[in-house]
Amino acid sequence: MATERVDSVKTYAAVWIVLLILTALTTAVAYVDLGAFSVVAALVIAVVKMLLVALFFMHLRHSTHLTRLVVTGGLVWLMILLLLSFADFMTRGWVGVPGR
């Protein structure tokens, strides 16, 4: 990390425009009936936006392995929280006995 990588203004501007377009897209898509895929679409777009911000604006694409490991770790831990909690919430009632 002797010298900083300096990205061009063009890159930043492009990312910025794409982010704005994606915002419009996610809003528009919400008015379309996609059934269960509405949520999926909204989340996919959000994840893409997150990646754009993280990789470009937060310079994750230039950063060390360690930093990337830290970020991945954070996301994995969030998934642990959500998934294992849903292991309870989604399986309630499976045995057909109230409260079990």
């Binding site: 770790g73 309870d88 399986t91 045995v95 079990r100």
Partner: protein
């Protein structure tokens, strides 16, 4: 005075922490004493039910959040982590000082709550009792824990960055002392778990102040959701409480048998494994909570995975003794105590992780006994081991060996007398958090209380002789135990910038052949 309160020296901050957590330990101990005295008789004559409920709540809150979680990391970790990796200080000394202030502010908030009237929710703050029904000082206490939580987060953050970025030349990951590994693993939990507790407390706070119904069943909220959020932190937090102790034991066992820890890499990795796997098991506190049957099974299953790295550690420590040169200095006695009592506590953890057994023993004294065996029998023993082991380095004085050995013995005996009967009580069905109880449980309760008085004496002794030694103890040499760590390569107590000459590491940890030349006999 001012130089202490504004210090950025990790060693001084460690001493500040030491004073703070000791205070909270005795406060928590005083609550414990009252609990035990109250439980002498089944009818509960000493205090009212309300008071009793506040006693165990404040005992749990004080001991967990203001004593045990900061204890080893913030005192011994703070003092020795930079020394052991050959750094001049932690990466962020100002944040380190801030952490201490946060703990103090959090502690004062909790103390305020206690003085103003106390809290009666249990240390687990289950909703809707804590949000809707309790009319005690829940908000101030929650706020105190919230603030103390940030202290814990910042300490963890500081340690992680320090370990990554501040190691001395030649100090590779696999040359690090095992204490550093365990502090690193602990820090991971602090950083990843504590924020969830923080946000949970914020939600409880909002619910209590604005009555908005996040967990309120009357509005369709789910009280079990609170339990998930709480234990997502609080189960891993039990490893915040025990991993640092395990680190101390690895050091002590090695030094006092003058042998490298058996299976260094396994012990190092098992710390990290415990930290990671510890996040997958929290639902074992919810087996009878109306959590789904399948989730219960998943969590029970995963709970056993976290037991294996602990088992690996215990076996490796024991194997380290094999063909060693074993000294019976006080730290080693405590280490023996730790291994034995942690084993019992851990093995009974396997009982409660088994669904069929836990349905019967959950919320009984069996659980109380399980965790006191680990937290008091385990971690506090380790803490005492570490305090004795590093006392000469921290203060430049030796403690009186005879008294120390005596107190170790008293604590061990008192401890078992206090908590062993509680296993039987629990299996017999004595529920926890009971102010009055059926007569047939009295005998065992009396035994337990008797043990607690012995235990109290055992804890008061070190308090006295440590203070005594500050003035009258023999002057400590730089390396009284013939230990290998970098912390022993500098004066006792160490100078402000830790090392007069920046250390360069050329050997693995625990290479005793390198220090034999400098061994100095001690009485």
């Amino acid at each position: 005075m001012k130089s202490w309160l504004l210090t950025k020296d990790h060693k001084r901050i460690a001493v500040l922490y030491l004073a703070t957590v000791t205070l909270f330990f005795f406060l928590g101990g005083a609550f414990a004493t009252l609990i035990r005295v109250e439980l002498l008789t089944p009818q509960g004559g000493l205090v009212s039910s309300e008071t009793y409920n506040k006693l165990f709540t404040m005992h749990g809150v004080t001991m967990v959040f203001f004593f045990l979680i900061p204890s080893i990391p913030a005192t011994l970790g703070n003092f020795f982590l930079p020394l052991m990796i050959g750094a001049r200080d932690l990466a962020f000394p100002r944040i380190n000082l801030l952490s201490w202030y946060l703990l103090v502010i959090g502690g004062l908030l909790a103390l305020f709550a206690m003085l103003a009237g106390g809290v009666d929710t249990g240390w687990t703050f289950y909703t809707p009792y804590s949000t809707t029904y309790s009319n005690s000082w829940v908000i101030a206490t929650a706020l105190g824990i919230f603030v103390a939580g940030f202290s814990s987060i910042l300490t963890g953050l500081n340690f992680i960055v320090t370990v990554h970025r501040m190691r001395a030349p030649g100090m590779t990951w696999f040359r690090m002392p095992l204490f550093v590994w365990s502090m690193y693993a602990t820090s991971l939990i602090q950083v990843l778990g504590t924020p969830v507790l923080a946000v949970t407390l914020v939600l409880v706070f909002c619910e209590r102040v604005f009555h908005i119904g996040i967990f309120d069943p009357a509005l369709g909220g789910d009280p079990v959701l609170f339990q998930h959020l709480f234990w997502f932190y609080s189960h891993p937090a039990v490893y915040i409480m025990v991993l640092p102790g395990m680190g101390v034991i690895s050091e002590v066992i090695s030094v006092f048998s003058r042998k490298s820890v058996f299976g260094y890499a396994f012990v190092a990795f098992s710390s990290v494994a415990i930290a990671v796997l510890g996040f997958l098991v929290w639902g074992h506190h919810l087996f009878v909570s109306t959590q789904s049957v399948y989730a219960g099974m998943v969590f029970s299953f995963l709970s056993y995975f976290v037991a294996i790295p602990s088992a690996i550690k215990v076996f490796n420590w024991t194997a380290t003794l094999y063909k060693g040169s074993i000294s019976f200095a006080t730290p080693m006695l405590y280490a023996f105590g730790f291994i034995g009592l942690f084993t019992i506590g851990g093995l009974t953890g396997l009982f409660v992780a088994s669904l069929g057994i836990d349905v019967h023993v959950t919320d009984t004294y069996f659980v109380i006994a399980h965790f006191h065996y680990i937290m008091v029998g385990g971690t506090i023993m380790a803490y005492m081991a570490g305090m004795h082991y590093w006392w000469p380095k921290m203060t430049g004085r030796m403690y009186p060996e005879g008294w120390a050995k005596l107190s170790a013995l008293v604590i061990f005996l008192g401890f078992n007398l206090t908590f062993f009967p509680q296993f039987i009580l629990g299996y017999l069905g004595m529920p926890r958090r009971y102010h009055v109880y059926p007569d047939e449980f009295q005998v065992l309760h009396v035994l337990s209380t008797a043990g607690a008085s012995v235990l109290a004496v055992g804890y008061l002794m070190p308090m006295i002789y440590f203070i005594w030694s500050l003035r009258y103890g023999a002057l400590a040499p730089a390396n009284p135990w013939g230990a290998t760590g970098l912390e022993w390569k500098t004066a006792s107590p160490p100078p402000v910038h830790n090392f007069d000459e920046a250390p360069v590491v050329t050997h693995e940890a625990y290479d005793y052949s390198t220090v034999m030349g400098e061994v100095i006999e001690v009485g």
